[in-house]
């Protein structure tokens, strides 16, 4: 027996009924090792209006570059384990914020490393499928050899890289623009 993937449909305006129970905005949730960082930003639509009814889902590696998988989890105590999943709704002003630890480098194709990054899925009314993007960290020499950043036209790469906030240590800013001059790069995952 074989089939084709079930078509995607929008989450619609009322997804919080089904999603909120699993909201995770504080990913460390315990004491895993690594550098803590808070990332905040806004989601903006084609008119520059904030999107108050969106949700981000994150997936990322731990500080050593490992993704949490059942076979890895048994070796660690629950306190040390970093789960790597986040679910973050936007608020009425279209803002989101989450705290995580900076992931390590993850193996890429051809034996090269990928620069530290967070996988991001975006859900909202108006999106018939989720959007997929990536968040990278500022000032990382590994960007130059990252296979994904190198697929992105140079002029658009900055949309994937979070910016430091001068007055707030350990805090980064990263906006998602759905359309317009600085439209965020989205991927076909």
């Amino acid at each position: 027996m074989s089939g084709e993937t079930t078509p995607s449909q929008t989450v619609g305006p009322y997804f919080s009924i089904g999603f909120d129970w699993l909201n995770r905005t504080d990913l460390p949730h315990g004491a895993p090792s690594g550098q803590r960082v808070t990332i905040r930003g806004r989601i903006l639509d084609g008119e520059g209006q904030p999107v108050p009814d969106a949700c981000l889902e994150l997936w990322q590696a731990d500080t050593s570059g490992k993704y949490a998988q059942p076979e890895n989890a048994r070796a660690k105590s629950p306190d040390q384990e970093f789960f790597g999943f986040g679910r973050i709704p936007t608020n009425e002003r279209g803002e989101f914020s989450f705290t995580t630890i900076k992931p390590g480098t993850v193996p890429g194709p051809d034996g090269r490393s990928q620069a530290p990054h967070i996988q991001i899925a975006v859900f909202m009314r108006g999106l018939l499928r989720r959007l997929v993007t990536r968040l990278y960290f500022p000032d990382d020499a590994a960007h130059a050899t990252d296979h994904v950043l190198n697929l992105v036209p140079a002029g658009r790469r900055a949309t994937l890289i979070a910016r430091p906030i001068a007055t707030e240590p350990q805090t980064l800013e990263w906006d998602i623009r759905l359309q317009g001059e600085h439209e965020t790069v989205f991927f076909d995952c």
Binding site: T5, S8, G126
Partner: protein
């Protein structure tokens, strides 16, 4: 590493679909960049059994009294494109009540809320990829997408599968619903045979005497390429 297959053309909705008005200001305008699959895409969150409360599969037992409406059993299998079951996957649902009203502050439809119905459920698929919910049949409801627009009865489904790449959110519809023909969200899927897989099937096998009608909704997640190659 095994990569996940891309969908056949027309079997998934596009991002911009003007009949669905909300897509116009929210769908990206630049082409998507194909993402090669690495560990970042082929791994995903796993949820232990205890993340889901044991009674979360039964939406008719979450309050003191029983919700109003037609009780139904919604069940099916989570499979990949090669027909293999997808076990231990989190499945989340949410829906309107029998009157077509969501328990949500943004829903201003003039229909009653039901104090005995939240409209939220979760479960994990078993070793055979099977899931089962008990709920009530949701009502149709108006929305302002176009003149006299009504959403067909539907239940929202959110499924994780084994990887970031397999994550799927969709909607399950009911057989014979006359509103499907007019619904831009349903009709955003170009290929008719793919679209029709969103419609559940009435199921004698899970119809429970004196209790509830059964509807079957199998969900298929992406399969993997037989040979590891991508560029």
């Amino acid at each position: 590493m095994l990569r996940y297959r891309r969908p056949s053309p027309g079997t998934q909705p596009g991002l911009l679909y003007p009949p669905y008005a909300s897509s116009i200001k929210r769908a990206p305008t630049q082409p998507l960049i194909p993402l090669p699959h690495t560990h970042s895409e082929t791994t995903g969150p796993y949820f232990p059994r205890d993340v889901v409360p044991p009674k979360a599969f039964d939406l008719t037992r979450q309050h003191k009294g029983e919700p109003l409406g037609e009780r139904i059993v919604v069940s099916g299998r989570l499979l990949d494109e090669d027909g293999r079951p997808v076990p231990n996957s989190l499945v989340e649902i949410w829906q309107a009540n029998a009157a077509g009203r969501y328990l949500h502050k943004a829903d201003q439809h003039d229909a009653p809320l039901d104090p005995n119905f939240t409209g939220m459920g979760q479960t994990l698929t078993d070793d055979e990829g099977c899931y089962r919910f008990v709920t009530i049949r949701p009502g149709a409801y108006p929305w302002r997408n176009h003149y006299n627009a009504w959403r067909p009865q539907h239940i929202h489904f959110s499924v994780f599968g084994p990887a970031f790449a397999t994550r799927l959110v969709t909607q399950m519809y009911f057989p014979g619903d006359p509103l499907l023909e007019f619904d831009p969200i349903y009709n955003s899927v170009p290929v008719e045979s793919a679209r029709k897989r969103l419609i559940s099937v009435f199921d004698w096998a899970t119809t429970t005497p004196e209790i509830a009608l059964g509807f079957r909704f199998d969900i298929v997640l992406r399969g993997r390429n037989a040979t590891p190659m991508e560029r």
